[in-house]
């Protein structure tokens, strides 16, 4: 799906938000892909992602899921994903993946120019690209931009507007730390695409600068 395509936010925040994931095609490279997906996950894990998971089993922020168990249970065609907050780590993952030559379809969601540069450094040229054209329709039904920045980090829409609002409130009342509140949101996102470090930074910013701090665009 368009899970990681529509992440909202300021460019400086998006600079700390890169999702890399594998995909397979039925009848082409899906059959027998389980071990390769496990290897993809092991490579990602080596470079310390801030989140990782697959939609069927859950993410590393679920209470009852261990990473070795998550990797061991990967089956053919699983959509494994990992989130990184810096281009250096992402670049190292990419180099390892090219070396491993798994034959899986690998995609990165993030700032297009940065990802292109990352590809160039790794000696590859991007194959296909997809952009968001934003949100259309009844936009008056949407909450504040800040809430959308959290919500769109889980493209499946599992982090509700209500929970985000509650977490912001709890942080501002000092009943939760930004880290704990961010982890609570990350727990809702099954596929591991939610970036808890970016969420924590956004909450921290709200704590120090106030609610609705984002400059007008």
């Amino acid at each position: 799906m368009t899970n990681t395509l529509h992440r909202q936010g300021l460019v400086e925040d998006l600079r700390r938000d890169y999702t890399i994931f594998v995909h397979t095609a039925k009848g082409i490279n899906r059959e027998g892909s389980a071990e390769k997906i496990r290897e993809f996950m092991r490579i990602c894990l080596k470079h310390r992602p801030v989140n990782m998971g697959d939609v069927k089993l859950g993410s590393m922020h679920q209470d009852d899921l261990k990473m070795d168990e998550l990797i061991a249970k990967q089956g053919d065609g699983t959509v494994g994903a990992a989130v990184f907050t810096d281009l250096e780590s992402l670049g190292r993952v990419l180099e390892d993946l090219i070396r491993a030559d798994l034959g899986l379809c690998v995609n990165i969601s993030g700032l297009m120019d940065e990802v292109r540069e990352c590809c160039r450094k790794a000696g590859i040229s991007r194959h296909s690209a997809e952009h968001s054209l934003g949100i259309w329709g009844a936009k008056d039904r949407l909450p504040e931009r800040e809430i959308l920045e959290f919500n769109t980090m889980c493209g499946h829409g599992m982090v509700s507007f209500g929970l985000i609002r509650r977490m912001i409130e709890q942080v501002r009342l000092r009943r939760l730390t930004p880290k704990r509140a961010a982890r609570m949101m990350a727990k809702c996102c099954m596929c591991g695409a939610f970036n808890p470090v970016r969420a924590e930074a956004l909450l921290q910013k709200m704590l120090t600068e106030g609610w609705l701090h984002a400059p007008k665009r």
Binding site: R120, R126, G137, R166, K187
Partner: protein
């Protein structure tokens, strides 16, 4: 989702995590799900940990705290008594879970969730080729949800431009006629978290499709997240950028990149 009235203590945690905001407190002090609006995403059941307390015990503690005018702020990811009960779903309501619960594998696509391949496996499938553009219109995202009657309205508006609707897409599979975009009549009153209309066309036709979306967006009471994709030539440029910008639309600075590491690589010349 259903809530066991015998077990529910009305703590309200499920109200907060509900992706559609459709759980509320009933007159009896127990939570109730608006079944018409619930999209069966299962988030409340998945996220809230069942603490396994006896309902009478939790009610008694809450009553005592109430008398003493004391509050207790529990973590948001707990259900004290395990009152949330996923129902056995049958068609057409089962569609709600297939489109809204990402852990449910869609029978038509074989992958979990409501989406399809877009560019994600374009390096091996060659779904989008040179001169083509892929468009995705996700109705109901973010966070507002969509009725299939809304999805049909958008699909029918696009259909006269002769898009090539992606065959293995959960929305296309519900169309009775891809030439008109009409969908199954029995599903019109089913609501989902979102549904993705996915199609491809020639690059130069993208502005015409966007113009249609400009009009139809005014006729539906939900939001659309729109995306555009294309296959890059060897120099890594993005063909749709100029077309979309030329039509006056702004592209996001971020997006999705297929790295071309899939094997065997699809080669257009050999097709």
């Amino acid at each position: 989702m259903e809530i066991d009235k015998e077990k529910c203590v009305g703590c309200g945690n499920c109200h907060v995590v509900c992706t559609m905001g459709v759980i509320s407190l009933g007159d009896d002090g127990r939570s109730v799900v608006n079944q018409d609006e619930c999209v069966e995403c299962g988030t409340c059941h998945r996220v809230l940990v069942n603490e396994g307390y006896r309902p009478w015990f939790v009610r008694a503690v809450r009553k005592v705290l109430g008398v003493l005018k004391l509050g207790y702020l529990a973590d948001a990811d707990l259900c004290p008594t395990g009152a949330l009960t996923p129902p056995d779903l049958t068609m057409p309501r089962l569609l709600r879970a297939q489109f809204s619960n990402p852990t449910v594998v869609h029978p038509g696509t074989g992958v979990p969730g409501r989406g399809t391949d877009e560019i994600k496996s374009n390096d091996v499938t060659g779904r989008l080729r040179s001169g083509e553009a892929g468009l995705v219109v996700e109705v109901g995202r973010p966070g507002t949800g969509a009725w299939f009657r809304d999805v049909e309205k958008v699909a029918m508006a696009l259909a006269p431009l002769r898009p090539h609707f992606e065959e293995l897409n959960p929305v296309t599979l519900l169309m009775t006629d891809t030439r008109t975009g009409r969908m199954r009549p029995d599903i019109m009153n089913e609501k989902v978290l979102s549904a993705i209309i996915e199609f491809k066309t020639e690059l130069d036709k993208v502005p015409a499709f966007l113009a249609v979306l400009e009009e139809v967006q005014k006729q539906i009471d939900t939001v659309l997240s729109v995306g555009v994709a294309s296959r890059c030539p060897a120099d890594g440029t993005i063909p749709h950028e100029a077309v979309v910008a030329g039509a006056g639309y702004k592209l996001s600075p971020n997006g999705k990149t297929n790295l071309g590491l899939g094997r065997p690589l699809f080669r257009e010349a050999a097709s």
